[in-house]
Structure formats: C-alpha cells, structure tokens
Symmetry: C2
Subunit: 373 residues, 2 copies
Amino acid sequence: MNNSPFTLHCRSSQSPARRGEVKTAHGTFQTPVFMPVGTQATVKGVTPENLQELGAQIILGNTYHLYIRPGHELIRKLGGLHKFMHWDGPILTDSGGFQIFSLRELAKITEAGAAFKSHLDGSNLFLSPEDAVLVQEALGSDIMMCLDTCIPYPATREEVIKGTALTGRWAQRSRAAHQNRSQLLFGIVQGGMHEDLRAEAVDELVEIGFDGYAIGGLSVGEDQERMLHITEHTAALLPEAFPKYLMGVGTPEDLVEAVWRGIDMFDCVMPTRNARNGMLFTSTGRLVIKNARYREDARPLDEACGCYTCRHYSRAYLRHLYMAKEILSSHLNTIHNLHYFVNLLGAMRQAIEADRLAEFRRDFYTRREVEAE
Amino acid sequence: MNNSPFTLHCRSSQSPARRGEVKTAHGTFQTPVFMPVGTQATVKGVTPENLQELGAQIILGNTYHLYIRPGHELIRKLGGLHKFMHWDGPILTDSGGFQIFSLRELAKITEAGAAFKSHLDGSNLFLSPEDAVLVQEALGSDIMMCLDTCIPYPATREEVIKGTALTGRWAQRSRAAHQNRSQLLFGIVQGGMHEDLRAEAVDELVEIGFDGYAIGGLSVGEDQERMLHITEHTAALLPEAFPKYLMGVGTPEDLVEAVWRGIDMFDCVMPTRNARNGMLFTSTGRLVIKNARYREDARPLDEACGCYTCRHYSRAYLRHLYMAKEILSSHLNTIHNLHYFVNLLGAMRQAIEADRLAEFRRDFYTRREVEAE
C-alpha cells in the first residue's frame, strides 16, 4: 500500500460523506472539492487571481490539449505548467483518454495505446500509457491520471469487459512508468453500469496500488439515478484511506448527491462552458441571462452570492454584455458560476463538519422549489 | 467665459506642451491623459479594477452605441452609466456623430440633425444636437461632447466650409440644450485641413463658450505630418484656460508629438483593438505575438513594463493563448497595451514637470531605433 496523500478529518453520521484533505507538491486542498477545468493552460475567461479570489483550491489541465498545443516539451522547457500559466496551487491533469475517445472515428485503440489524429491539423499521433505518464511528468502536474479507455454507453457486457480489462493492463503499465513520485498518480475504475465489473476493477487497481482512485465512464449519457447508483456502489468499494474522485461530474444536484455518497473530488466544464453561453447557476436555480425579463433587473444574479460579479453588477448589465457579445460577459459569468460550484462544495464541507449534511441537502432542494413555483 | 474645469500646473519651456488637471463631478484627472475607450459600457476585455490598477484615470463611452443598445433611458433608470458599468471615475461620452458618420449611406445629415439606420436592426433613428445632449445627460457622463458633422477626407473646400458651419450651428444648439451644469460640455473644432477654417471654427466655439475644446476631423486618412500641422495650428488658437482634446488619436508616436504641441486629452481604440488582434505596444516598438520567434520566448512582452501581464506571463504563454483563441489572450494583451498607452502619458507628465520633454521625446525614438536594427 502507498502512503496516502489523503487525511480524513471527519465523517458524516448520516451518509458515507466525508471531510478531509489531500496533500500535493503544490499545497494541500480541502475535500470534498470542485476543480475548475483549465483545458488549454487557462481556465477559460479568468485569471489565476480570479480563481484564488473565488476560492478555487486546485485546477485541472487537459493532457490531450496541451500535448497537441503548445506541446509538453515546450511547457517543460518553460518551467512546467504551474509557471507557464502562473498558477502556484495544485494541478491535476487528466490522461488524455477521454478527449481521444471523443475523437471517435479519428482514434484507434490497440493494446499498445491510442492512435489518433490531431483535431487541429489531422497529423497522426500516438499515446501509450507510458507516454501519458511521461507527458504529465513533463507538464509537472501534482496529480496525474492513468490513460484509460472510455467505454461507450450503452455498450454490451462484452465491450465493457474488454475495455475495463485493457484499462487495468494500462494502469499496470502506467504505474511501472511512474518515475517522479512527488507527482501523485491516480488509477481510474471503469466497469460501465455493471456492479460486478466495477468491483473487479477496484480490486485490480488497489492491487496495483495508486495514490488515489477515480470513477470513470459516468456522466456519458446514462440517467442520474443509474450514475448515482454506480457511484455509490463503487465509492463504497474504494479504499477509505485514499481520495475518491468522480470524473467529469456534474450538475449542482449531481455534486450534492455524489458528496452524500462519499466522493471527495469533482471536475466538470459545466460552470465555465455554461457561463460563456449565458447560463448562470444560483442558489435558487438556473438563470438564462438573455431572457427579456432581466432587461431592467437591477438585482445581482444571486442575492445570496458574494462573488465579485454579484457584488458589483446587475442582471441588466450582465444581460447587456451578453447581448452585445462583450468579452466581459464571459469573464463575469465565469467568475460567478465557478464561485457557485466551488462554494457549493465549501458549504458541504461545513455541513459535514457540523454533521448536518442531510439538512443541507434538504435545504438545497427546498430553495430551488421556491424559485420553480 | 465659463469657469474652467482646467488647472494649469506648469508649462514646458521647450514646446507648447503643458501639465495640468481637469476637475469633474467624479474626480480630477491629470493631463496630458489617455482615455481608454469603453464603447458599449465596458472597455473590451477588462474590468474597472484592471483599469484602475493599470493607471487609467478617465474612460470614454460611445453615445451612439449606448443609445442603440441598451438605450440611454435604461441606463438612466439603473442609476447612470457609472453605476451601470461599475466605474466611479470620470467618464467622457462622445456625441455619436463619428459613429453615425461611419454608417455612410445609412446616414443622412440635415440642418435638424442626423437621420440614420441602426447597425443592429436597421430601424430608423434620428439624433439632433439637442437629443445628443439629452442622451448624454441620461447617461450621466462627466464630460459630454457636442454633436458634430464629420467631414470626409479628402474634401473640397466648399464641403469643409459647409460641414464646419453646420457644426457651429449645432454647437450653439447643444449649448442651449445643456441643462445639467455638473456635466461639462466640450465643443468640437472642425475645419478640415484648412488653417483659416480651423481658426474661424475656434472663434465661433469660444464665442459660444464651452468647458473644453476638442479638435475633430483628424486621423481620418491624412498623413501624420498634415495631422500634426493642423493639431499644432489649432491647439495654439484654443484658449489656454481650457482643456484641449485631440479626438481619436492615435499611435504612440502621434501621442508624443501631439503632447509636444500642447494637447491635453486623447482617446483611441488602437491599444484595445490591437491587443485583441495580438499586436502589442512595447517600449522598443511593436510586437506581433503570433510570430513563431516567440514560441519558446520566456521573456515578458516588454522588459521595461510593470503591468500585470508582464509581471506574470511569458511571450511563449501569450503566443499560446493567442493561437488557441483563448479569452485570456484578449484580457492579458489589453491590460498590457492600455498600461503602455496610459503610462506613456504618465511619463510625459513627469517629463513636462522636469522640463525634459525634448529629452523624453528623443529617448522615445532612440529606443525604437535600437529594436529596428
């Protein structure tokens, strides 16, 4: 068993939820945590100082994108991803697997690794599990992810077995390639919607031994009930001493439910992408800023919110910026949405400490119902 | 003669350059000054806090754009332009004349005012000189500009006479319509490239009496020598007790030359627009960030610059953001370019105080020659 970077602070008596922290080479972050996504060495539309101010503790970078542009060797030469993008806190990099999988007919998965074409110039590229570790070592991220195969949904049981087994063999190779132990390496549990295959995948990864464990292959089209069921099932099987990370999830409702079920770490493009499309998350529900009802609305996006955007700007102004396609629209909306997601997790941390997560969860839905009336 | 908002601090012994300040309802700004352009109630790509940090003292808003979207009555209802856009410092609004003129065949100028079609939805609109004052009063800007007619270049002497005379009659009507004296009103000198017509226009405007005087109709296609000649000629005729504003100018070189000739105030979209297009201004000249030579360049944009962008980011990172079309590219480039323009004027204020403007001007060109070698 590895030394774990995870320290447990306390547990909920109401559910498997837990409160802890994860130690990395660039500092410690408190869990449960939401990680803003910084695909191309920038969280779209905001500065590192904005991220700090809104409470982000750790951000995510995309190996696939950085590998293609500007290239991991360039980033290494310039001092690593932290220095390159001026972010001193923890960074988690994904392995590139999910993006390569998203290329569909442009990608071919073999035992050796993933052959794919660059979405930028069509050039032929190849990434093995070992390559994915080397690229992430060049980037210098604090938490690296093993290259995994993404299993489509729906899929036959045979397809799931095949993809999960390959992910297991790749995990073994990733662990063997892992040289720089100041960078943590997380394994990814596949297994589709099958409880037994998830359990086998957990056993296999724990046998290899990682610094943390991620649940992959969810939020790929299945309904929320199924996603939460597999999350709960898998989270319960993962070793308690290590961080549990649910990849690519999700809506505020998903986050509340997955924390309730024992997840420590989350990432999702939803707050940043939706911000740019004018969809804002608030304590009373969602708000589409282009709606004519906000034309003369002097109120902030969310009267319960203390973010920079809500402290200084009206819905009317934000609507104007959106309609006028101003850059500041994306900036202010992104600050608000990330603040909402990051602080939703902060509020859940407090609720777990107070052992009132059930009450928090009930209030969370009640506020939304009021708005929906 | 009005009470002037202008206080002279000192004069250069080397040229007509001068150092002073202008008092407005939202504070006093030091001159000579560069005003960032905030067309649609936002300086594109940056926040008011960014503007403060980079040293901006006063910003400009575009009456034409705000009149069309979101509308001056909406802005009045929401507490005025300052509150709407969260900028507490001085704001100058143009009259809309220049933008309407730019619509060309979509605009028709008559004695009564300007009839034009909205560039957004083609609707028929009309702006009289009185309307322009009322709209700017609704916006609540600190300095309002009279509606003027823009004279094309080149133009016949007859065309220039006609346009300049109409601008004079509109100035008279603007003054008569001006109710809220806490908002300053500036007249605009037209007269094309004709010294005698510029002189007549100055006399006419001074006779009416304004809080400041602008030189319009330059930087419209004429060469720099002609522009500076008319600037020098007109600035010398304008009353010394009032601010002198050269509208829409210009390059760093233009600013140095126009301050030398006695201009107090400037605005131009060049630093903001060029920033978004990846063209950066530095103390040693211009830099096109997409150039391959910057691919691995760990240096800041300008080693002599203390802006946020130059303190934290490399040329290689800025090139990456530009190539990847990231929003942060516009943000960081705009901060740098505006810092350059705003602080170029700050350095000239110091040079005038030290009575070393000639030396400053010589060094300004010498540094550029070194780079050009």
